[in-house]
Protein backbone atom coordinates (compact mmCIF):
# COMPACT_ATOMS: atom_id res chain seq x y z
CA UNK A 1 0.00 0.00 0.00
CA UNK A 2 2.75 2.44 0.95
CA UNK A 3 4.65 1.77 -2.22
CA UNK A 4 1.40 2.07 -4.15
CA UNK A 5 0.87 5.60 -2.86
CA UNK A 6 4.47 6.47 -3.60
CA UNK A 7 4.06 5.10 -7.14
CA UNK A 8 0.85 7.06 -7.54
CA UNK A 9 2.72 10.26 -6.70
CA UNK A 10 5.49 9.40 -9.15
CA UNK A 11 2.86 8.61 -11.76
CA UNK A 12 0.97 11.85 -11.22
CA UNK A 13 4.21 13.86 -11.44
CA UNK A 14 5.15 12.14 -14.72
CA UNK A 15 1.58 12.54 -15.94
CA UNK A 16 1.66 16.19 -14.95
CA UNK A 17 4.62 16.81 -17.21
CA UNK A 18 2.92 14.97 -20.08
CA UNK A 19 -0.18 17.04 -19.32
CA UNK A 20 1.70 20.32 -19.66
CA UNK A 21 3.29 19.14 -22.93
CA UNK A 22 -0.14 18.26 -24.25
CA UNK A 23 -1.60 21.57 -23.03
CA UNK A 24 1.17 23.51 -24.75
CA UNK A 25 0.70 21.63 -28.01
CA UNK A 26 -3.07 21.91 -27.80
CA UNK A 27 -2.73 25.65 -27.29
CA UNK A 28 -0.88 25.78 -30.60
CA UNK A 29 -3.60 23.67 -32.21
CA UNK A 30 -6.06 26.36 -31.15
CA UNK A 31 -3.83 29.25 -32.18
CA UNK A 32 -2.72 28.07 -35.60
CA UNK A 33 -4.42 24.73 -36.18
CA UNK A 34 -1.03 23.01 -36.24
CA UNK A 35 0.40 19.98 -34.50
CA UNK A 36 3.72 21.32 -33.25
CA UNK A 37 5.54 17.99 -33.11
CA UNK A 38 8.79 19.72 -32.15
CA UNK A 39 7.35 21.39 -29.05
CA UNK A 40 8.92 18.64 -26.91
CA UNK A 41 12.25 19.15 -28.67
CA UNK A 42 12.10 22.82 -27.75
CA UNK A 43 11.62 21.76 -24.12
CA UNK A 44 14.75 19.58 -24.29
CA UNK A 45 16.70 22.31 -26.09
CA UNK A 46 15.68 24.60 -23.26
CA UNK A 47 17.05 22.10 -20.75
CA UNK A 48 20.28 22.14 -22.75
CA UNK A 49 20.41 25.95 -22.51
CA UNK A 50 20.06 25.64 -18.74
CA UNK A 51 22.86 23.09 -18.68
CA UNK A 52 25.10 25.32 -20.80
CA UNK A 53 24.43 28.23 -18.45
CA UNK A 54 25.37 26.13 -15.43
CA UNK A 55 28.54 24.76 -16.99
CA UNK A 56 29.74 28.06 -18.43
CA UNK A 57 29.02 30.25 -15.42
CA UNK A 58 29.70 29.61 -11.78
CA UNK A 59 26.66 27.34 -11.61
CA UNK A 60 24.11 29.99 -10.68
CA UNK A 61 20.72 28.27 -10.54
CA UNK A 62 18.57 31.45 -10.66
CA UNK A 63 20.48 32.54 -13.75
CA UNK A 64 19.93 29.11 -15.36
CA UNK A 65 16.20 29.32 -14.63
CA UNK A 66 15.94 32.78 -16.17
CA UNK A 67 17.92 31.72 -19.23
CA UNK A 68 15.66 28.68 -19.65
CA UNK A 69 12.43 30.64 -19.48
CA UNK A 70 13.65 33.31 -21.87
CA UNK A 71 15.18 30.93 -24.38
CA UNK A 72 12.07 28.74 -24.43
CA UNK A 73 9.95 31.77 -25.28
CA UNK A 74 12.39 32.85 -27.99
CA UNK A 75 12.66 29.36 -29.54
CA UNK A 76 8.91 28.87 -29.62
CA UNK A 77 8.09 32.30 -31.02
CA UNK A 78 10.85 31.83 -33.61
CA UNK A 79 8.86 28.94 -35.10
CA UNK A 80 5.69 31.02 -35.53
CA UNK A 81 6.67 32.70 -38.82
CA UNK A 82 7.60 29.28 -40.21
CA UNK A 83 4.18 27.86 -39.49
CA UNK A 84 2.15 30.94 -40.38
CA UNK A 85 2.07 30.57 -44.18
CA UNK A 86 1.30 26.85 -43.90
CA UNK A 87 -1.42 27.49 -41.37
CA UNK A 88 -3.00 30.13 -43.62
CA UNK A 89 -2.98 27.66 -46.52
CA UNK A 90 -4.36 24.88 -44.31
CA UNK A 91 -1.48 22.61 -45.36
CA UNK A 92 -1.69 19.92 -42.70
CA UNK A 93 0.81 17.42 -44.06
CA UNK A 94 3.40 20.11 -44.76
CA UNK A 95 2.90 21.41 -41.23
CA UNK A 96 3.67 18.00 -39.74
CA UNK A 97 6.73 17.71 -41.98
CA UNK A 98 7.96 21.14 -40.96
CA UNK A 99 7.48 20.39 -37.28
CA UNK A 100 9.29 17.07 -37.54
CA UNK A 101 12.10 18.76 -39.43
CA UNK A 102 12.53 21.31 -36.65
CA UNK A 103 12.59 18.44 -34.14
CA UNK A 104 15.27 16.58 -36.05
CA UNK A 105 17.43 19.67 -36.35
CA UNK A 106 17.15 20.31 -32.61
CA UNK A 107 18.00 16.68 -31.79
CA UNK A 108 21.03 16.81 -34.11
CA UNK A 109 22.16 20.06 -32.54
CA UNK A 110 21.93 18.64 -29.02
CA UNK A 111 23.75 15.44 -29.92
CA UNK A 112 26.57 17.42 -31.57
CA UNK A 113 27.06 20.30 -29.20
CA UNK A 114 25.71 19.42 -25.76
CA UNK A 115 28.05 17.33 -23.65
CA UNK A 116 29.32 15.50 -26.75
CA UNK A 117 25.97 13.79 -27.27
CA UNK A 118 25.96 12.14 -23.86
CA UNK A 119 23.33 12.70 -21.20
CA UNK A 120 23.72 16.13 -19.67
CA UNK A 121 23.19 15.88 -15.93
CA UNK A 122 22.17 18.71 -13.64
CA UNK A 123 23.55 19.26 -10.14
CA UNK A 124 21.58 17.81 -7.25
CA UNK A 125 20.94 21.30 -5.92
CA UNK A 126 18.71 21.92 -8.93
CA UNK A 127 16.84 18.64 -8.91
CA UNK A 128 15.77 18.45 -5.30
CA UNK A 129 15.89 14.69 -5.55
CA UNK A 130 18.04 14.27 -2.50
CA UNK A 131 15.28 15.67 -0.30
CA UNK A 132 12.92 12.86 0.51
CA UNK A 133 9.80 13.30 2.54
CA UNK A 134 8.46 10.49 4.68
CA UNK A 135 4.91 10.27 5.90
CA UNK A 136 4.65 7.09 7.92
CA UNK A 137 6.07 4.40 5.71
CA UNK A 138 5.50 6.34 2.51
CA UNK A 139 8.48 8.22 1.23
CA UNK A 140 8.87 10.22 -1.92
CA UNK A 141 11.15 12.89 -3.26
CA UNK A 142 10.51 16.57 -2.76
CA UNK A 143 10.94 17.04 -6.52
CA UNK A 144 7.82 15.03 -7.26
CA UNK A 145 5.75 17.20 -4.97
CA UNK A 146 7.11 20.42 -6.43
CA UNK A 147 6.42 19.10 -9.93
CA UNK A 148 2.88 18.09 -9.01
CA UNK A 149 2.08 21.46 -7.51
CA UNK A 150 3.83 23.25 -10.38
CA UNK A 151 1.86 21.31 -12.99
CA UNK A 152 -1.42 22.00 -11.25
CA UNK A 153 -0.64 25.70 -10.99
CA UNK A 154 0.52 25.99 -14.61
CA UNK A 155 -2.50 24.10 -15.90
CA UNK A 156 -4.86 26.26 -13.82
CA UNK A 157 -3.25 29.49 -15.03
CA UNK A 158 -3.36 28.37 -18.65
CA UNK A 159 -7.02 27.36 -18.36
CA UNK A 160 -7.83 30.68 -16.75
CA UNK A 161 -6.07 32.50 -19.57
CA UNK A 162 -7.90 30.56 -22.27
CA UNK A 163 -11.36 30.55 -20.79
CA UNK A 164 -11.51 33.79 -18.82
CA UNK A 165 -9.24 36.35 -20.46
CA UNK A 166 -9.92 38.51 -23.50
CA UNK A 167 -6.96 37.19 -25.48
CA UNK A 168 -7.76 33.59 -24.53
CA UNK A 169 -11.27 34.11 -25.84
CA UNK A 170 -9.80 35.51 -29.05
CA UNK A 171 -7.61 32.41 -29.43
CA UNK A 172 -10.60 30.10 -28.99
CA UNK A 173 -12.57 32.16 -31.49
CA UNK A 174 -9.75 31.83 -34.03
CA UNK A 175 -9.70 28.08 -33.44
CA UNK A 176 -13.40 27.78 -33.93
CA UNK A 177 -13.90 29.93 -37.00
CA UNK A 178 -10.92 31.86 -38.28
CA UNK A 179 -12.94 33.75 -40.87
CA UNK A 180 -15.48 35.02 -38.36
CA UNK A 181 -12.72 35.81 -35.85
CA UNK A 182 -11.00 37.96 -38.47
CA UNK A 183 -14.30 39.67 -39.32
CA UNK A 184 -14.65 40.60 -35.65
CA UNK A 185 -11.25 42.26 -35.91
CA UNK A 186 -9.20 39.74 -33.97
CA UNK A 187 -5.59 40.26 -35.09
CA UNK A 188 -4.42 36.97 -36.59
CA UNK A 189 -0.72 37.79 -36.45
CA UNK A 190 -0.48 39.35 -33.02
CA UNK A 191 -2.78 36.84 -31.31
CA UNK A 192 -0.80 34.00 -32.84
CA UNK A 193 2.51 35.37 -31.62
CA UNK A 194 1.00 35.82 -28.17
CA UNK A 195 -0.18 32.20 -28.19
CA UNK A 196 3.27 31.00 -29.23
CA UNK A 197 4.81 33.18 -26.52
CA UNK A 198 2.63 31.63 -23.85
CA UNK A 199 3.32 28.14 -25.17
CA UNK A 200 7.01 29.08 -25.02
CA UNK A 201 6.82 30.24 -21.42
CA UNK A 202 5.10 26.95 -20.61
CA UNK A 203 7.85 25.06 -22.46
CA UNK A 204 10.43 26.78 -20.26
CA UNK A 205 8.50 25.83 -17.16
CA UNK A 206 8.20 22.20 -18.35
CA UNK A 207 11.95 22.14 -18.96
CA UNK A 208 12.58 23.23 -15.37
CA UNK A 209 10.23 20.55 -14.05
CA UNK A 210 11.95 17.96 -16.25
CA UNK A 211 15.30 18.96 -14.79
CA UNK A 212 13.84 18.42 -11.33
CA UNK A 213 12.31 15.01 -11.96
CA UNK A 214 14.71 13.51 -14.48
CA UNK A 215 17.92 15.18 -13.31
CA UNK A 216 19.35 14.97 -16.82
CA UNK A 217 18.51 15.52 -20.44
CA UNK A 218 19.57 13.59 -23.51
CA UNK A 219 19.46 14.05 -27.29
CA UNK A 220 16.71 11.43 -27.66
CA UNK A 221 14.48 12.85 -24.91
CA UNK A 222 12.71 15.18 -27.33
CA UNK A 223 11.59 12.29 -29.53
CA UNK A 224 10.43 10.25 -26.54
CA UNK A 225 8.31 13.13 -25.25
CA UNK A 226 7.07 14.11 -28.69
CA UNK A 227 5.71 10.66 -29.49
CA UNK A 228 3.97 10.42 -26.12
CA UNK A 229 2.55 13.92 -26.35
CA UNK A 230 1.20 13.47 -29.85
CA UNK A 231 -0.38 10.15 -28.97
CA UNK A 232 -1.95 11.61 -25.85
CA UNK A 233 -3.36 14.42 -27.98
CA UNK A 234 -4.95 11.90 -30.32
CA UNK A 235 -6.11 9.94 -27.30
CA UNK A 236 -7.94 12.94 -25.84
CA UNK A 237 -9.02 14.59 -29.09
CA UNK A 238 -6.99 17.26 -30.89
CA UNK A 239 -7.26 20.67 -29.30
CA UNK A 240 -9.22 19.35 -26.33
CA UNK A 241 -7.52 21.03 -23.37
CA UNK A 242 -9.36 19.41 -20.49
CA UNK A 243 -9.39 15.97 -22.13
CA UNK A 244 -5.65 16.18 -22.76
CA UNK A 245 -5.03 17.12 -19.16
CA UNK A 246 -6.87 14.15 -17.70
CA UNK A 247 -5.61 11.66 -20.27
CA UNK A 248 -2.03 12.67 -19.54
CA UNK A 249 -2.42 12.34 -15.78
CA UNK A 250 -4.12 8.98 -16.24
CA UNK A 251 -1.42 7.68 -18.57
CA UNK A 252 1.33 8.91 -16.24
CA UNK A 253 -0.17 6.81 -13.48
CA UNK A 254 -0.65 3.79 -15.77
CA UNK A 255 2.99 4.09 -16.76
CA UNK A 256 4.23 4.36 -13.17
CA UNK A 257 2.14 1.38 -12.09
CA UNK A 258 3.34 -0.72 -15.00
CA UNK A 259 6.90 0.23 -14.12
CA UNK A 260 6.42 -0.80 -10.50
CA UNK A 261 4.28 -3.91 -10.77
CA UNK A 262 4.87 -5.52 -14.14
CA UNK A 263 7.92 -7.67 -14.79
CA UNK A 264 10.67 -6.47 -17.09
CA UNK A 265 10.31 -3.44 -19.32
CA UNK A 266 6.63 -3.50 -20.10
CA UNK A 267 6.00 0.18 -19.36
CA UNK A 268 5.95 1.38 -22.95
CA UNK A 269 3.92 -1.59 -24.16
CA UNK A 270 1.24 -0.94 -21.56
CA UNK A 271 1.24 2.79 -22.30
CA UNK A 272 0.75 2.32 -26.03
CA UNK A 273 -1.51 -0.70 -25.60
CA UNK A 274 -4.05 1.29 -23.59
CA UNK A 275 -3.89 4.13 -26.07
CA UNK A 276 -4.29 1.88 -29.11
CA UNK A 277 -7.42 0.40 -27.60
CA UNK A 278 -8.92 3.84 -27.03
CA UNK A 279 -8.04 5.06 -30.51
CA UNK A 280 -9.73 2.01 -32.04
CA UNK A 281 -12.70 2.26 -29.72
CA UNK A 282 -13.18 6.04 -29.94
CA UNK A 283 -11.70 7.39 -33.18
CA UNK A 284 -12.21 11.02 -32.16
CA UNK A 285 -10.41 10.56 -28.87
CA UNK A 286 -11.68 9.77 -25.44
CA UNK A 287 -13.16 13.24 -24.88
CA UNK A 288 -13.13 14.44 -28.47
CA UNK A 289 -15.70 15.80 -30.76
CA UNK A 290 -13.30 18.08 -32.61
CA UNK A 291 -11.63 16.91 -35.84
Amino acid sequence: MESFVAQLIVGLATGGIYALLVLGMNLLVLVRNIVHHSYSHIVVLTMAMGWLTLTHTNGSIPLAVIVMLISAIIFTIATEPLFRPLSVRGADLETVTLAMGIGIIITEFISKYINGGANFAFPDAMTGRQNTISIGLISFSMANIVVLVGCAAAAAILMWFLFKSKEGRAIRAMAQNLRVAKMLGIPFGRTGVLGFGIAGLLAGFIAILCVMTLGAGSPSLGDTFAVKAIILMLFAGMGNMKGGLFSALFMGVVEAMALAYLPGRWTEAVFYGVIMLVIIWKPNGLFGNKH
Binding site: K166, R169, A170, R172, A173, Q176, N177, R179, V180, A181, K182, M183, L184, G185, I186, P187, F188, R190
Partner: protein, 238 residues
Protein backbone atom coordinates in the same frame (compact mmCIF):
# COMPACT_ATOMS: atom_id res chain seq x y z
CA UNK B 1 -21.65 68.36 -47.60
CA UNK B 2 -18.48 66.27 -47.62
CA UNK B 3 -18.52 66.26 -43.83
CA UNK B 4 -21.59 64.02 -43.65
CA UNK B 5 -19.82 61.34 -45.62
CA UNK B 6 -19.09 58.27 -43.46
CA UNK B 7 -18.06 55.82 -46.14
CA UNK B 8 -16.95 56.58 -49.67
CA UNK B 9 -16.08 53.84 -52.13
CA UNK B 10 -14.50 55.00 -55.37
CA UNK B 11 -13.82 53.00 -58.50
CA UNK B 12 -13.49 49.80 -56.45
CA UNK B 13 -12.59 46.55 -58.23
CA UNK B 14 -12.22 43.18 -56.52
CA UNK B 15 -11.04 39.97 -58.16
CA UNK B 16 -10.90 36.31 -57.19
CA UNK B 17 -7.90 35.31 -59.25
CA UNK B 18 -8.91 36.17 -62.82
CA UNK B 19 -12.60 36.49 -61.94
CA UNK B 20 -13.87 40.01 -61.46
CA UNK B 21 -16.55 40.03 -58.75
CA UNK B 22 -16.81 43.80 -58.24
CA UNK B 23 -16.05 46.16 -61.11
CA UNK B 24 -15.36 49.88 -60.66
CA UNK B 25 -18.06 50.51 -58.10
CA UNK B 26 -18.72 53.95 -56.62
CA UNK B 27 -20.77 54.17 -53.47
CA UNK B 28 -21.39 56.58 -50.62
CA UNK B 29 -22.95 56.19 -47.22
CA UNK B 30 -23.79 59.33 -45.28
CA UNK B 31 -24.05 59.84 -41.58
CA UNK B 32 -27.24 58.33 -40.11
CA UNK B 33 -28.36 56.62 -43.31
CA UNK B 34 -29.48 53.10 -44.06
CA UNK B 35 -28.15 52.21 -47.49
CA UNK B 36 -29.22 48.97 -49.16
CA UNK B 37 -27.21 46.96 -51.70
CA UNK B 38 -29.73 45.10 -53.78
CA UNK B 39 -28.81 42.26 -56.06
CA UNK B 40 -29.44 38.63 -56.80
CA UNK B 41 -27.19 35.78 -55.78
CA UNK B 42 -23.67 36.28 -57.11
CA UNK B 43 -24.09 39.99 -57.82
CA UNK B 44 -21.05 40.84 -55.71
CA UNK B 45 -22.71 42.12 -52.52
CA UNK B 46 -20.68 40.01 -50.11
CA UNK B 47 -17.51 40.73 -52.03
CA UNK B 48 -18.11 44.46 -51.71
CA UNK B 49 -18.82 44.20 -47.97
CA UNK B 50 -15.76 42.00 -47.41
CA UNK B 51 -13.62 44.44 -49.37
CA UNK B 52 -14.76 47.35 -47.19
CA UNK B 53 -13.84 45.25 -44.17
CA UNK B 54 -10.45 44.32 -45.63
CA UNK B 55 -11.21 40.59 -45.64
CA UNK B 56 -11.03 40.61 -49.43
CA UNK B 57 -8.35 42.84 -50.95
CA UNK B 58 -9.29 45.46 -53.51
CA UNK B 59 -7.37 45.29 -56.77
CA UNK B 60 -8.17 48.89 -57.63
CA UNK B 61 -9.96 51.92 -56.25
CA UNK B 62 -10.14 53.46 -52.80
CA UNK B 63 -12.25 53.05 -49.71
CA UNK B 64 -12.46 56.06 -47.40
CA UNK B 65 -13.98 55.87 -43.92
CA UNK B 66 -14.44 59.09 -41.94
CA UNK B 67 -11.91 60.76 -44.18
CA UNK B 68 -9.26 58.07 -43.69
CA UNK B 69 -8.10 55.88 -46.57
CA UNK B 70 -8.65 52.32 -45.31
CA UNK B 71 -8.16 50.49 -48.61
CA UNK B 72 -4.95 48.79 -47.57
CA UNK B 73 -5.52 48.52 -43.83
CA UNK B 74 -5.73 45.17 -42.08
CA UNK B 75 -9.19 44.09 -40.97
CA UNK B 76 -8.28 44.51 -37.31
CA UNK B 77 -7.37 48.17 -37.92
CA UNK B 78 -10.55 48.74 -39.89
CA UNK B 79 -12.70 47.22 -37.15
CA UNK B 80 -10.80 49.21 -34.53
CA UNK B 81 -11.47 52.40 -36.49
CA UNK B 82 -15.23 51.88 -36.13
CA UNK B 83 -16.66 49.49 -38.75
CA UNK B 84 -18.29 46.24 -37.67
CA UNK B 85 -20.06 43.50 -39.56
CA UNK B 86 -22.94 41.08 -39.30
CA UNK B 87 -21.58 38.35 -41.56
CA UNK B 88 -23.61 36.49 -44.15
CA UNK B 89 -25.22 33.50 -42.45
CA UNK B 90 -24.75 35.26 -39.08
CA UNK B 91 -21.19 34.00 -38.42
CA UNK B 92 -21.94 32.51 -35.04
CA UNK B 93 -19.11 31.17 -32.92
CA UNK B 94 -21.45 28.30 -32.22
CA UNK B 95 -19.49 26.52 -29.48
CA UNK B 96 -18.94 29.70 -27.51
CA UNK B 97 -21.55 31.18 -25.23
CA UNK B 98 -23.84 34.07 -26.09
CA UNK B 99 -21.90 36.23 -23.64
CA UNK B 100 -18.55 35.26 -25.14
CA UNK B 101 -19.80 36.12 -28.62
CA UNK B 102 -20.81 39.55 -27.32
CA UNK B 103 -17.50 40.03 -25.52
CA UNK B 104 -15.66 39.21 -28.74
CA UNK B 105 -17.71 41.89 -30.46
CA UNK B 106 -16.22 44.31 -27.94
CA UNK B 107 -12.65 43.17 -28.66
CA UNK B 108 -11.72 46.64 -29.89
CA UNK B 109 -13.83 48.56 -27.39
CA UNK B 110 -11.58 51.26 -26.01
CA UNK B 111 -13.06 51.43 -22.52
CA UNK B 112 -15.54 49.47 -20.43
CA UNK B 113 -18.03 47.54 -22.55
CA UNK B 114 -20.32 46.93 -19.55
CA UNK B 115 -22.83 49.69 -20.36
CA UNK B 116 -23.04 48.53 -23.99
CA UNK B 117 -23.71 44.98 -22.80
CA UNK B 118 -26.53 46.29 -20.61
CA UNK B 119 -27.88 48.16 -23.62
CA UNK B 120 -28.01 45.16 -25.97
CA UNK B 121 -29.54 43.06 -23.19
CA UNK B 122 -32.23 45.70 -22.85
CA UNK B 123 -32.87 45.61 -26.63
CA UNK B 124 -32.95 41.82 -26.70
CA UNK B 125 -33.73 40.45 -23.21
CA UNK B 126 -33.72 36.92 -24.63
CA UNK B 127 -29.94 37.21 -25.06
CA UNK B 128 -29.59 38.04 -21.40
CA UNK B 129 -31.62 34.97 -20.46
CA UNK B 130 -29.49 32.81 -22.73
CA UNK B 131 -26.12 34.39 -22.02
CA UNK B 132 -24.44 31.24 -20.65
CA UNK B 133 -25.89 29.08 -23.42
CA UNK B 134 -23.85 28.12 -26.49
CA UNK B 135 -24.67 30.41 -29.42
CA UNK B 136 -25.27 27.36 -31.62
CA UNK B 137 -28.29 26.38 -29.53
CA UNK B 138 -30.19 29.59 -30.35
CA UNK B 139 -32.90 29.71 -33.00
CA UNK B 140 -32.11 31.38 -36.32
CA UNK B 141 -33.84 34.61 -35.34
CA UNK B 142 -32.12 34.72 -31.97
CA UNK B 143 -28.77 34.11 -33.66
CA UNK B 144 -29.40 37.07 -35.93
CA UNK B 145 -30.18 39.24 -32.88
CA UNK B 146 -26.94 38.02 -31.34
CA UNK B 147 -24.98 38.73 -34.51
CA UNK B 148 -26.38 42.27 -34.64
CA UNK B 149 -25.80 42.83 -30.93
CA UNK B 150 -22.26 41.55 -31.29
CA UNK B 151 -21.68 44.03 -34.10
CA UNK B 152 -22.90 46.84 -31.82
CA UNK B 153 -20.70 45.85 -28.86
CA UNK B 154 -17.68 47.79 -30.10
CA UNK B 155 -19.83 50.95 -30.44
CA UNK B 156 -19.07 51.31 -34.16
CA UNK B 157 -19.85 54.25 -36.40
CA UNK B 158 -20.79 52.06 -39.36
CA UNK B 159 -22.35 48.60 -39.35
CA UNK B 160 -22.27 46.37 -42.43
CA UNK B 161 -24.95 43.70 -42.60
CA UNK B 162 -24.66 40.96 -45.20
CA UNK B 163 -28.15 39.66 -45.97
CA UNK B 164 -29.64 40.03 -42.49
CA UNK B 165 -32.98 38.56 -43.61
CA UNK B 166 -31.44 35.36 -44.96
CA UNK B 167 -33.33 32.28 -43.76
CA UNK B 168 -35.48 34.26 -41.32
CA UNK B 169 -39.24 34.06 -40.94
CA UNK B 170 -41.09 37.19 -42.19
CA UNK B 171 -41.97 38.22 -38.64
CA UNK B 172 -38.31 38.25 -37.66
CA UNK B 173 -37.35 40.11 -40.83
CA UNK B 174 -39.59 43.02 -39.88
CA UNK B 175 -38.39 42.93 -36.30
CA UNK B 176 -34.77 43.10 -37.43
CA UNK B 177 -35.38 45.96 -39.86
CA UNK B 178 -37.40 47.92 -37.33
CA UNK B 179 -34.52 47.52 -34.91
CA UNK B 180 -32.10 48.84 -37.52
CA UNK B 181 -34.30 51.89 -38.07
CA UNK B 182 -34.29 52.42 -34.30
CA UNK B 183 -30.47 52.26 -34.29
CA UNK B 184 -30.36 54.71 -37.17
CA UNK B 185 -32.36 57.20 -35.13
CA UNK B 186 -29.69 56.91 -32.46
CA UNK B 187 -27.09 57.99 -35.01
CA UNK B 188 -25.79 54.69 -36.37
CA UNK B 189 -24.91 54.46 -40.04
CA UNK B 190 -25.82 51.24 -41.81
CA UNK B 191 -24.91 49.57 -45.09
CA UNK B 192 -26.73 46.31 -45.73
CA UNK B 193 -26.96 43.85 -48.57
CA UNK B 194 -30.19 42.11 -49.42
CA UNK B 195 -31.71 39.77 -51.95
CA UNK B 196 -35.00 40.59 -50.29
CA UNK B 197 -35.28 43.88 -52.19
CA UNK B 198 -38.84 44.59 -51.13
CA UNK B 199 -38.05 44.64 -47.41
CA UNK B 200 -34.72 46.36 -47.83
CA UNK B 201 -36.17 49.20 -49.90
CA UNK B 202 -39.09 49.53 -47.49
CA UNK B 203 -36.75 50.39 -44.62
CA UNK B 204 -33.68 51.88 -46.33
CA UNK B 205 -33.07 55.52 -47.20
CA UNK B 206 -31.15 54.89 -50.40
CA UNK B 207 -30.24 51.89 -52.47
CA UNK B 208 -27.73 50.64 -55.01
CA UNK B 209 -28.67 47.88 -57.40
CA UNK B 210 -25.82 45.52 -58.18
CA UNK B 211 -25.67 43.14 -61.08
CA UNK B 212 -22.65 41.04 -62.07
CA UNK B 213 -20.36 43.24 -60.02
CA UNK B 214 -21.47 46.63 -61.34
CA UNK B 215 -23.96 49.18 -60.01
CA UNK B 216 -26.76 49.38 -62.54
CA UNK B 217 -28.84 51.91 -60.63
CA UNK B 218 -28.91 53.93 -57.46
CA UNK B 219 -31.16 56.43 -55.76
CA UNK B 220 -33.62 57.03 -52.94
CA UNK B 221 -35.20 53.79 -51.77
CA UNK B 222 -38.78 54.90 -52.49
CA UNK B 223 -37.85 55.75 -56.07
CA UNK B 224 -36.11 52.41 -56.61
CA UNK B 225 -39.07 50.58 -55.11
CA UNK B 226 -41.36 51.98 -57.80
CA UNK B 227 -38.86 51.83 -60.66
CA UNK B 228 -40.29 49.51 -63.36
CA UNK B 229 -36.95 47.79 -64.03
CA UNK B 230 -36.28 47.15 -60.35
CA UNK B 231 -39.82 45.90 -59.92
CA UNK B 232 -39.44 43.50 -62.83
CA UNK B 233 -36.03 42.18 -61.88
CA UNK B 234 -36.06 42.18 -58.07
CA UNK B 235 -39.56 42.60 -56.75
CA UNK B 236 -41.19 39.94 -58.90
CA UNK B 237 -43.73 42.65 -59.73
CA UNK B 238 -45.62 44.05 -62.70
Amino acid sequence: MEQTNVLKVENLSVYYGPICAVRKIDLEVNQGEIVALIGSNGAGKSTLINAILGIQRARGGTITFLGQNITRLKTERIVASGISVVPEGRGMLADMTVLENLQLGAYHHKGDYGPMLEKVFSYFPILSDRKTQKAGTLSGGEQQMLAISRALMGEPRLVLLDEPSLALSPAYVDKIFQFLVEMKKQGLTILLSEQNARKALQYADRGYVLDLGVTVMNGPAQELAVNPEVKRAYLGGE
